[in-house]
């Protein structure tokens, strides 16, 4: 039976390759149409390409692809014209799309002045590896994201997709399990639990019905890795899920994807349909006696449902509320049956490990955390986007080399890693290597991969408050510590950021409460909820002190601790911009023609500061608010 699967696959592969090769004979325009691209206006760009191609009667195809990872430069388009090096263009708008069709597709000018990067090595234009980001980046699971059509399975098959599945069907499930265990693949959902160990625990259960679930309930603020992968290369995840099911002995699989990800859900559904048609899913997969079916379940947007037991509970139609362990899900999970829940990214590595072997996987990364780490690099960073670097890369390399540092000549302040469960690390921690254990030692955690860079304008007390408010709102309310403890912590932080707290003892209580919530909560949402507060207390203690003792926000971010002020020595009589920008008519013209703010009316919306022309920069923020008296006293003289 084993050989049959390989032969069958070879036939499917040959057909796919023939189709893709034929496609490449004609010019192809790939437009990045993942959610990130669409948000930047990619739909209009695609229509512009199509219209222009049609109006010139060209035989060129426009194909929607997923996310290439360079979100800062969206909308992105790739043009591959036979006889030319394929080029990627960033910041594409409708005008540029038209121009590229005329200049490049109709004529033969690739418009290098607009090109961002070449996709193949050539002697004219640099490729990704010629940039600092390309040096550090090593794409394993993102390799094909943004370069293949996620809605056409043949694109994936042409890249050897499903070859690993055909191969493992010739192996015993135990052999597959051993390979994954030997690769030391650690779960990419955050905690880093070894996937092989989890699978083995599930496999050992005598119960004939077992489930395997792909956790796509990504919910961290600023994180979008899982969405991008589901939208850009769905078959890689599906193949991983099928292989894991084979290893575990699972009979049914589920994608748990939050309903806020409609495109990911659509893409996965289409992909499942196509996989079924090709015989990779369903009864006797690739002619073997292995049957497996995958369904899609839409999560309703509760953050806590990313937690395994709450996820399973919500799938059963119950409230999405965690339960104590043991029993582990591998013993009693979905519908009481042994269940494996792994993150989207974890499944992505599986086909690669099975195709290339555990040693290949372990040759990247660190001994304790082999492989790569996928991050969404966001916040105050020059090149935001989706990046994949080997484990062990330092935060400094990731931020300054891959992300090209902090824009607008601002000072780096901290990096928030691991979402609401993670922590804020300062400059001094930037040489921490990125791996599961080192980050945890530093007080943060790998989390699912959100990485938010903060600069001097970010108040660390305010940031801690923001993340705590997030978990407080997302707490399911079941257990005492999380339900009430986070609420009390938030009250304290509200008071500090609003200048109502004058007693330093409140910080002791804050820390005590944080430690108790960490030790006493039922699930990992509660256990990790205090991390942003604990790390900011540890690394940015001074900022807390200044808020309390001086009523001052050093980053000028806490609204109740600042006032807006127009410096008369900088303001110009010739300009009226701020007056028009103010929504509450708080800005008036003084007798001398300069502008001033009526503090009673000011709502601190920041509009005046943003609109004041750079040659004046006359609007400034003062903290503590008492500074205003000093200033106004001075200017009156």
């Amino acid at each position: 039976m084993g050989q049959a699967s390989t032969e069958l696959y070879e036939k499917i592969k040959a057909a796919a390759t023939e189709k893709i090769t034929a496609l490449k004979q004609k010019p192809v325009v790939l437009v990045g149409m993942a959610t990130c691209g669409k948000a930047a206006g990619a739909e209009k760009v695609r229509e512009a390409f199509k219209k222009e191609i049609e109006s010139h009667g060209l035989e060129a195809q426009v194909i929607d692809v997923g996310c290439m990872g360079h979100c800062y430069a969206e909308p992105l388009a790739i043009i591959a014209k036979p006889g030319h090096t394929p080029l990627c263009y960033g910041y594409v708008d409708e005008e540029l799309a038209k121009r590229l069709v005329i200049d490049f597709l109709v004529n033969d000018d690739p418009c290098y002045e607009f090109a961002m990067v070449a996709l193949e090595t050539n002697d004219v234009f640099p490729t990704f590896s010629d940039f600092p980001r390309g040096v550090y980046e090593q794409k394993m699971i993102l390799e094909h994201c943004g370069f293949i059509d996620p809605e056409d399975i043949d694109h994936y098959i042409d890249k050897d997709g499903y070859a690993a599945l055909a191969k493992i069907l010739t192996l015993e499930p135990e052999e597959v399990l051993e390979e994954v265990k030997s690769a030391n693949l650690r779960g990419r959902g955050g905690a880093g639990f070894p996937a092989g160990t989890k699978w083995e625990a599930c496999r050992k259960q005598k119960e004939p019905v077992k489930y395997v679930i792909c956790n796509g309930d990504e919910g961290d603020p600023g994180a979008f890795m899982d969405r991008s992968i589901l939208e850009s290369n769905p078959h890689q995840v599906i193949e991983g899920l099928i292989i894991s099911a084979y290893a575990i002995g699972a009979t049914e699989g589920y994608f748990y994807i939050r309903a806020e990800y409609p495109q990911a859900i659509r893409t996965i559904r289409t992909a499942l349909e196509q996989a079924r048609e090709k015989g990779f899913l369903g009864k006797s997969i690739l002619g073997s006696d292995f049957d497996f079916e995958i369904k899609v379940f839409q999560g309703s947007g509760a953050f806590v449902c990313g937690e395994g037991s709450a996820l399973v509970s919500s799938m059963e139609g119950k409230m999405g509320i965690p339960r104590p362990r043991p029993p582990r899900l591998t013993t009693s999970g979905f519908r009481g049956k042994p269940t494996v829940v792994n993150n989207v990214k974890t499944f992505c590595y599986v086909p690669l490990i099975m195709k290339n072997g555990a040693d290949w996987f372990k040759s990247t990364g660190t001994p304790g955390s082999p492989g790569t780490a996928v991050f969404t690099l966001v916040g105050k960073i020059t090149n935001s986007g989706l990046v994949e670097v080997p484990m062990g890369t330092t935060l400094r390399q990731l931020i300054y080399d891959v992300g090209e540092g902090i824009p607008d000549e601002k000072e780096f302040k901290a990096v928030q890693i691991g979402g609401p469960s993670g922590g804020c690390l300062p400059e001094s921690a930037l040489d921490v290597p990125i791996d599961f254990d080192s980050l945890e030692e530093a007080g943060a955690m790998m989390g699912s991969g959100g990485l938010v860079v903060l600069n001097e304008d970010d108040c660390m007390v305010g940031i801690a408050r923001y993340f705590l408010e997030f978990v407080q709102k997302e707490s399911c309310g079941k257990c005492t510590f999380c339900r009430l403890g986070t609420k009390h912590m938030l009250e304290i932080l509200n008071d500090i950021t609003q200048g109502k707290e004058k007693d330093l003892a409140s910080l002791d209580l804050l820390r005590e409460l944080a430690e108790d919530i960490k030790a006493g909560s039922l699930c990992n949402l509660g256990k990790t909820a205090p991390n942003p507060v604990l790390t900011t207390l540890r690394y940015f203690w001074d900022e807390y002190i200044v808020h309390i003792t001086e009523g001052r926000c050093p980053a000028l971010m806490c609204k109740d601790l600042i006032v807006y002020y127009i410096a008369p020595e900088l303001c110009s009589k010739l300009c009226n911009v701020c007056v028009g920008s103010c929504p509450t008519e708080a800005i008036y013209t003084r007798e001398d023609g300069l502008k001033a703010i009526d503090q009673e009316k000011c709502v601190k919306c920041d509009n005046c500061l943003k609109t004041c022309p750079p040659q004046y920069n006359a609007v400034i923020k003062l903290s503590p608010p008492e500074m205003l008296k000093e200033k106004e006293g001075g200017s009156a003289k």
Partner: protein
């Protein structure tokens, strides 16, 4: 009949059926461990009140006794500085959300919170936290009993009793986070709900949230 094992709780050697949850083994042997949400029949336990922390040899941190199965040779201490700290905080957190006028409460002197305070020498007032008691009305629509949600500690015993013992399904948990509460479908009064006034829920309420009239 399951196998018997021997364990030690606070220096006392105790024999118990293997696999039984530690909380029940302790309570059955007159060793008190604070608890509110524990119901023997709920499996897996709710483990939501976070009061039954104990120290068990081999565990780095205190663990809850309600969901820990006893094993041969297990060594348990019901008190330690770490346990006391967690219990103290959890207890005061619960009090911060609980209307604290014991003298006016129908459960005065038979309240589990009072019992915990007495056993663990904890204060029945807020020392560190500010009150978070919500402004929710008392539902006295049933003929025989009343429900005061501001005294509810969300232990869930009433919900279990209503669903699994009485088999009625008049009440359940609703909302999330700090707004979680026990209520009827659509927040109607109990009189307008399927409640049959069997009184089972009232009997298991550890505090003064559910109380018989008179």
């Amino acid at each position: 009949m399951s196998k018997k094992i021997t364990l030690t709780i606070d220096g006392r050697e105790i024999t118990a059926p293997e696999g039984e949850k530690l909380l029940w083994v302790a309570l059955d042997n007159d060793i008190y461990i604070p608890n509110l949400c524990a119901v023997k029949e709920i499996d897996p336990p709710q483990a939501s009140c976070r009061l039954c922390f104990v120290e068990v040899e081999g565990y780095r941190e205190p663990v809850t006794a309600c969901n820990l199965a006893v094993t041969e040779g297990m060594v348990v201490k019901t008190r330690s500085p770490a346990v006391d700290r967690l219990v103290k905080t959890a207890f005061e957190l619960l009090l911060s959300d609980h209307r604290l006028k014991c003298s006016e409460c129908p459960k005065n002197r038979s309240c589990e919170l009072q019992k915990i305070a007495k056993e663990r020498r904890l204060k029945l007032r807020l020392t560190r936290f500010r009150p978070l008691v919500k402004d929710l009305p008392i539902d006295d629509s049933p003929d025989t009993f009343a429900f005061d949600p501001t005294r509810c500690v969300l232990c869930g015993r009433c919900v279990w009793e209503d669903h699994e013992v009485a088999g009625v399904g008049a009440i359940g948990f609703s909302r999330r986070g700090i707004d979680r509460r026990v209520t009827t479908f659509g927040d109607t009064s109990l009189a307008d709900s399927p409640c049959i006034e069997c009184g089972f829920c009232v009997e298991v309420c550890p505090v003064g949230a559910l109380s018989f009239k008179e």
